[in-house]
Symmetry: C2
Subunit: 406 residues, 2 copies
């Protein structure tokens, strides 16, 4: 009697390309009590501004009331778009409301960009290694990724042309995380940024700048965004910059609210809005009001120094523990963000190390997941934001013991 | 110097099919003060449980704290999935957590279903007229819609086979809103439901049951969901029912939270989860906890009678005012939901009426937007949930005056 068993139902071709993120599924398994996990990318929950959020909720229900629970505009709350427009404007670069779309976290921004920009077989140049959830989002749409080599300072701009030529491709997009890249933690230095923009511009290649971690800087000075650099050399707004800038409040306020954004040319924002209307109508009205209230209340001025200080300590703890426990191996030196990448000098495959590490109560993500060209077997990604300094010390001692095991 | 002007950037073929929803854009214009709008589909904000929501927020921040602000599972909050599984289980039909995915409102559920089920040129059978935002979501993916005739009791089951044959198609999906359909407000009666399921099953056609309004019933008894009917005739769970059931808390708690769901076969839920992971990682943790808290606190038992009573009054007001002001024309008789559809006996085109109505301070949506076959020019959709009974009386008097204008 099971005539319409779903086994008869074929999924779409698109769906056949989908799979669960190995990292996300693996990270789910690393939440068992007692396990020290460097595997995920979670902010430290003990630093979340819970009391501030509760105060914000009280204010929003009192000031906005029912309006905070009603349907909203697909583009996002106008006042929140205006706040972002002001935050990204400079003396020579004007961002207006029409250049901003509010999304359900940065991940939705990336997915919508893929939906409106990428056709089957389109080519995307990206840092190698790169952000895993981007690959799953855009590969599902039929995009092909091509690797651009990276060094300790991020994408090697001088190798962009040879990468393109070697792959014999006419890429449509160049995806880059200039600040504290996931997974490497690298930062594109000031002198590489204009060169990257010029190379892309000469080839009419549109840039996607993913800046999920940019506010979490622990040393050095903030560098200008590609959006602003590209904009100020051509026109005084995002309209002709050739860049879409993706950001999020997940790392600086709280990820559970799912509030991110895209800033880009108004005609791109318009098309992204159409895509979002079909995808989910709009982003949570309540959560947008909560974020807006906290921003207007000056939360970031109070909270960012707290986050930077705590995460700086954790980064320093991890780097010094890595130097002690793995003196022969090469960690990246992140100026900010949430991740260090460790490369083993002896070229061991970190997948083989993982069961030993888990047996000793510590988890990491094998780095090859993030590579576009099948390399990276000797690397691992280590998150330093979620564990306390004491747990970081303890976890790296366990990791060393695991690495020594036969 | 504008070498990388976005004018050079081509959008995807997919994007070329996207457009702004004419209704949504139009509804934006009808928010000017003083205008009485029957155009949107907004619940009444004065009925939102704002105080209950504030209490829930206090409890969630106190009980769950930082956990309510952290990243969450793509599938949704396990306790919320369990609540829905229990709510949809019957003595002979068992829904389990694995059959439930939490989404950003019902719209995301529909979009994800399209992503994982529909290939370019796949055919979907749907009620004529049907839900506009479904069309924009699935047409963008390349789906073709074919109309099934409807009468005052919803989809004409006996015409399904001739519709299919006339279009000479092998449809992949049948989309149906059995309760208080948008835009017509019709309800599929008990005797048609098993016949609809049998027809679909014999043709291996998967059913999408959209039940956005099902809890808002103002007369008569609740009818079994297609999901449950289909499940109980084949197997004791959604796994072999051949139905995906889409629902939302938007109409019974608040739309601004964006919490909806899909219940369906576990292998479909698994694939939808992969699609959602790429689309936006997960639904707002805070909003899921708020809804869960309100459900556990018994909000629906207190709040649904209030909503039903208020909306029943508004529906009755609208139906009696329509009978007075438009005695020759034919309104549908919704047993629930938010909409009445009015058909003009004189076959006038309601688009021509719209400017006159707006000039007199009243708005509606011309009905042809919702039709799949180019008909419906003599119809209009009227929302009765958003305006007070007094405003409904006043608005329909204005509408009559507009309709009388030369």
């Amino acid at each position: 009697m099971m005539m319409n068993n779903l086994n008869d139902l074929t999924f779409s071709e698109r769906a056949a390309r989908m799979s669960r993120s190995a990292v996300r599924e693996f990270v789910k398994l690393t939440t068992r009590p007692g396990l020290i996990s460097f595997a995920g990318g979670l902010p430290a929950p003990e630093l979340f501004p819970v009391q501030e959020m509760e105060n914000a909720a009280t204010r929003v229900f009192s000031r906005i009331g029912a309006g905070s629970l009603q349907y909203g505009e697909t583009e996002g709350l106008p006042e929140l778009r205006d706040w972002l427009a002001r935050a990204f404007s400079t003396a020579s670069f004007e961002v207006r409301r029409e250049h901003v779309l509010i999304t359900n976290g940065a991940q939705q921004a990336l997915h919508l960009l893929g939906l409106v920009l990428l056709d089957e077989q389109d080519t995307v140049l990206a840092e190698n290694p790169t952000y895993l959830a981007l690959l799953s989002a855009w590969r599902t749409l039929g995009a092909q990724f091509r690797a651009v080599p990276c060094d300790a300072q991020g994408i090697c701009v001088e190798q962009l042309e040879s990468s393109r030529a070697r792959h014999d491709c006419h890429p449509k997009l160049l995806y880059v995380q200039p600040n504290f890249q996931n997974p490497q933690g690298t930062t594109l230095p000031a002198h590489r940024r204009p060169r990257l923009i010029e190379w892309a511009r000469a080839r009419k290649l549109f840039l996607i700048e993913d800046n999920a971690y940019g506010e979490l800087r622990y040393e050095g000075e903030a560098l200008p965004h590609l959006l602003q650099l590209a904009g100020s050399t051509t026109a005084a707004s995002p309209d002709h910059a050739g860049v879409a800038h993706v950001g999020t409040f997940s790392k600086v306020i709280a990820p559970g609210l799912r509030i991110g954004w895209v800033i880009g040319p108004a005609n791109l924002i318009d098309k992204l809005t159409q895509a979002k209307q079909a995808a989910d109508l709009h982003t949570s009205t309540l959560n947008q009001y909560l974020v807006l209230d906290l921003l207007q209340d000056g939360l970031l001025e109070r909270h960012l120094p707290v986050l930077r200080s705590a995460y700086r300590t954790r980064r320093n703890t991890m780097l010094s523990a890595l130097a002690r426990h793995f003196p022969k191996d090469l960690p990246t030196h992140p100026q900010g963000g949430l991740f260090v990448m460790l490369s083993f000098a002896d070229q061991r495959n970190t997948r083989n190390l993982l069961p030993h590490a888990l047996a000793r109560g510590v988890a990491f993500v094998p780095g090859d997941e993030f590579y576009l060209d099948g390399t990276g077997h000797n690397t691992m990604r280590l998150n330093f934001s979620n564990a306390s300094p004491e747990k970081i010390e303890e976890g790296l001692a366990k990791l060393e013991a695991a690495a020594r095991a036969p």
